[in-house]
């Protein structure tokens, strides 16, 4: 259940941001989450909704942008994108990749009033 700790991290940042930007409500939170993080969106939403119930954040929605795995194929040396971590290099079928992205876990934007 790392989703609950992640949800708590999001809530903490949102409270800070509300103060900084003098917001009363937040409707939407845009997140970038790498496939490799293994975050279950349903569990994340459940944890988030539970944490914000009855608080000024209640009703805020999480909008998750999934970031695929990108990196350099060890075999052909090309920069490649993998949809899932089980995939091989789409160019040469090499099975080993030096990871460059796919581990993101960040808030990129919030919408509020």
């Amino acid at each position: 259940m790392h989703e609950l700790s992640i949800a708590q991290g999001i809530v903490n940042i949102l409270h800070e941001q509300m103060k900084i930007h003098h917001l009363v409500t937040i409707q939407r939170v845009e997140l970038r989450i790498g496939v490799l993080r293994g975050v279950e969106t349903a569990s994340l939403n459940f944890g988030f909704d539970t944490l914000i119930a009855g608080s000024p954040l209640e009703g805020a929605q999480l909008d998750v942008i999934e970031v695929p795995i990108q990196g350099r194929c060890v075999q052909c040396g090309q920069h490649i994108t993998l949809k899932g971590w089980l995939d091989d290099c789409p160019l040469c079928s090499g099975s080993r990749v030096e990871i460059a992205s796919g581990k993101e876990l960040e808030i990129v934007a919030i919408e509020g009033e």
């Binding site: 991290g9 940042i13 293994g38 971590w85 990749v97």
Partner: protein, 216 residues
């Protein structure tokens, strides 16, 4: 109103982990984060390691468990300072818990701190505690498909210890498949095969660890 904010969700933890890392560097301390699923043999390996190396290096141990002091007591019987963290339900250790735990150790007198994380292949990987590196254990009964199911822990670890290899004749675990899966997303992962029961491979692990300590 849309406000662009680029902030890492676990930044609060990451910040404290960096402070821990600075403290460890100042104390010339090697810190190993031992991670695995439950029952892979972290505590047994730690006991063996302490028996073999405690006279050569000054160890401190941090034991993370959801509950009980069972493992900490086993380790303490080796005459090495141990701090127990009971997470009280949490499935991983966080940087603040480590900061609190190491404050109870006499860091300047130690060469190395080994943190035995909570047995779990997912959550501990998300939380940097300020360690030098993660050493992962995977026991052969767990199966050769684990790298495909839990990729991040393999990706984040520096060394994979494949444990309980004395059980290989009795379980369906193909070493080539396991190695290939582990190297898929971490081509530079070091891999060793060990058995705490027969002692096979342990000397290589002791040498690896001693070498790490020497680098500080």
């Amino acid at each position: 109103m849309k406000i662009p904010v680029v902030q890492k969700v676990l930044q609060a933890n990451d910040r404290i982990a960096e402070e821990n890392r600075r403290l460890f560097q100042e104390s010339k301390l090697t810190v190993i984060n031992l991670v695995s699923g439950p029952g892979a043999g972290k505590t047994t390996l730690l006991e063996k390691t302490l028996k073999a190396l405690k006279d050569r290096h000054a160890f401190g141990i941090v034991e993370g468990d959801i509950q009980s002091t069972h493992d900490a007591e086993k380790i303490a019987s080796n005459g090495v300072p141990v701090v127990q963290i009971n997470t009280g339900g949490a499935c991983h250790l966080e940087a603040t818990m480590i900061r609190e735990a190491v404050s109870q150790l006499d860091l300047p007198r130690l060469d190395i701190v080994v943190v035995e994380n909570v047995g779990n292949l997912v959550c501990p990987v998300e939380f940097d505690i300020g360690e030098d590196c993660k050493v992962m254990l995977l026991s052969v009964p767990e199966g050769d498909d684990k790298p495909l199911k839990y990729p991040l822990i393999f990706e984040e670890s520096s060394l994979l210890l494949i444990t309980k290899i004395d059980l290989l004749p009795y379980v369906n675990c193909r070493m080539d498949k396991l190695r290939e899966g582990a190297l898929k997303l971490n081509p530079y992962l070091e891999i060793m095969e060990i058995s705490c029961k027969t002692g096979e491979g342990l000397d290589l692990w002791y040498a690896w660890l001693s070498n790490r300590i020497g680098k500080r």
